[in-house]
């Protein structure tokens, strides 16, 4: 290029034709529009939830149980105390069942099973479990624990259904984290003479812990929002209950029951309960995100 300032015609052959430029702009515009479209429902759900839900929040909303017949006395429909406590109890038991088993299976997959045929069969069945619709878990627990034992609904049966739901999530996320642990760490512990179980309990698991907490919290958050598996395992009662072998209320089931009510006050209670549930789940998600940011592995 000898000319210090080339004529525009010299660049013309490199220029993008107007038609291509229009197409590019159109496509980018549509992609942006699609992205904004995805955020619309989020904004609407959050806005509607806050505007409807905050109105029913009060001290008595959290400290009283919902009352039975609400058709005529709209003034005293009660709050959601039993639902909150029920959700916490059911999900806590489900976590106690699912987390140790899930982490155990993940440890086996990474430390013992590796790429054996048995291990890939186990991985396949974990994948199958991931895809099972939550209501089908409810049916299964119904068959085994209610038809099978001839007894009625109970809180702990709901916990079992939720535990089945959490199990694949816990196994998969724990496995991903365990795979990230460098082999040299295990080898150096083994070379120092530590037996396998000590390596697992004193080296592998502590290193993986922060990363695994994230997956576990996300699994809990997911279980807490599930309605379908609880419908015919833990069922409904309106009373606060600390005995997991009795009928037990829960937030999602309470909302589901209240949605169909013809009384506005009861529907408003559903909105308040929905806001409570979403806030609980968001808190779990937030904690999970903070921990995963801190951890070096995840």
């Amino acid at each position: 290029m000898s000319a210090p300032s080339p004529a525009p015609s010299q660049f013309a052959r490199f220029a993008v034709s107007p038609a291509r430029r229009r197409k590019d702009r159109l496509a980018r515009g549509m992609i942006l529009a699609g992205t904004l479209l995805a955020l619309v429902p989020l904004a609407l759900v959050v806005f509607y939830l806050l505007s409807k839900g905050l109105g029913s929040w009060s001290w008595s909303f959290f400290s009283t149980d919902p009352t039975g017949n609400t058709f005529f006395k709209t003034s005293s429909i009660g709050g959601i105390k039993s639902a909150i406590l029920g959700t916490i109890e059911i999900v806590a038991l489900a976590s106690v069942i699912a987390i140790p088993i899930g982490i155990g299976v993940a440890v086996w997959l990474v430390e013992y099973g590796r790429n054996s045929r048995f291990a890939s069969t186990v991985r396949f069945s974990v994948d199958v479990l991931t895809g099972v619709p939550s209501i089908v878990f409810g049916l299964f627990i119904y068959i085994v624990l209610i038809v099978g034992t001839g007894s009625s609904y109970a809180g702990y049966k709901g916990s079992f259904a939720l535990a089945l739901l959490m199990l694949p999530v816990v196994i998969r996320s724990a496995e991903v984290i365990l795979l990230l642990i460098p082999g040299a760490l295990r080898e150096s512990a083994l070379a120092l003479g530590a037996p396998r179980w000590k390596v697992i309990f004193h080296v592998v698991l502590p290193t993986a812990l922060p990363g695994m907490v994230t997956g576990v919290l996300l699994a809990i958050a997911r279980a807490a929002g599930e309605t379908a598996p609880l419908l015919f395992t833990a069922a409904t009662t309106r009373n606060t209950n600390f005995n997991l072998s009795q009928f037990m209320n829960s937030l999602p089931v309470q909302i589901y029951d209240d949605v169909t009510s013809p009384t506005t006050a009861v529907v408003n209670r559903a909105w308040g309960a929905a806001l409570t549930l979403v806030v609980m789940i968001l808190l779990l998600n937030l904690i999970a995100r903070l921990i995963s940011r801190r951890s070096r592995l995840a």
Binding site: G104, E111, G113, L164, R172, W197, L218, Y256, L277
Partner: protein, 336 residues
Amino acid sequence: MPGGERSILERSPLARLPDRALKYGLTTLAGLILVLIVYFFVRLVGEARPAFAHAGVFGFTFDNDWNVSGEKFGALPLVIGTLITSGLALLIGVPVAVATAIYANELCPLRLRTALTILVELLAAVPSVVYGLWGIFFLAPKLQPIEQWIADRLSFIPFIGGGTVTIPNYFVAGLILAIMILPIVSAIAREVMATVPADHKEAALGLGATRWEMIRTAVLPYCRAGIVGGAMLGLGRAIGETIAVTIVIGDAPQLGSHLFGQGYSLAAVIANEFGEAQGLHRSALFAAGLVLFVLTLLVNGLARVLVSRASRASKTTSAPQAAGGSQPIAGAVAGA
């Protein structure tokens, strides 16, 4: 080793005990997962057998007659309802999810990327029952006039036009499902797009492609299988989704005459009728659960094959890829 003497490097049998215990304990635990699946299937088939014996497997699945009081259990209206709503969810949800992924990966200012990702993932944190509540009290009533307008204008198209629009209907259910599958489809699309080698994109740009041409020629073909797999995973979710659909589909056990009419789905019928069901009716609901289970199994199986093939392909073609190429895909799938 002479006479059973142990080397000093060997552990005593007692000290080796915990090792054995842990190994066999964990193996049993892993085996239990397998046993659980098999037991699961066997028991479900056992409970569903009376209904299948009553109408035959094909009769149950494809007869268009769900009449509880008449003891007629043909699940076609439910199967069709499930397929219509989840098909709609794919039709609406996947393009939006892919657009979100493209925007986040290729067009978005770097500073906004994390915020956008978090916002889309927040959609997954809202429980299904809350979507149902929102759908029936906000979305469906607000959409009804628009739907009626569309139905009137398109009355010449058999399934879409004509008829009166009810507040709960197939379309609203499909729309809610689209919102619910958006985060998972978008997350997988994003992970797959992150595996596209920078060389390919730079080559396209270097040859003079515009941004869109680069996306169309370098990015999209490279991750087509992964996106299709993500969409199938979304489909699996939509098929199994229960409570939101139960609330907004209208619970009419006949085959809906048009898109904006009331219908039913497999999962919704179980949630609604199981509480009062007895005898053959209950068995029919177990059979509906089994059909649902098999349907999701097929869809998810296909999805996993596609996703894993996509991540394997990207692993072999781009060796010096940044950490976290296929791992996040596994993570995203596990999070599903």
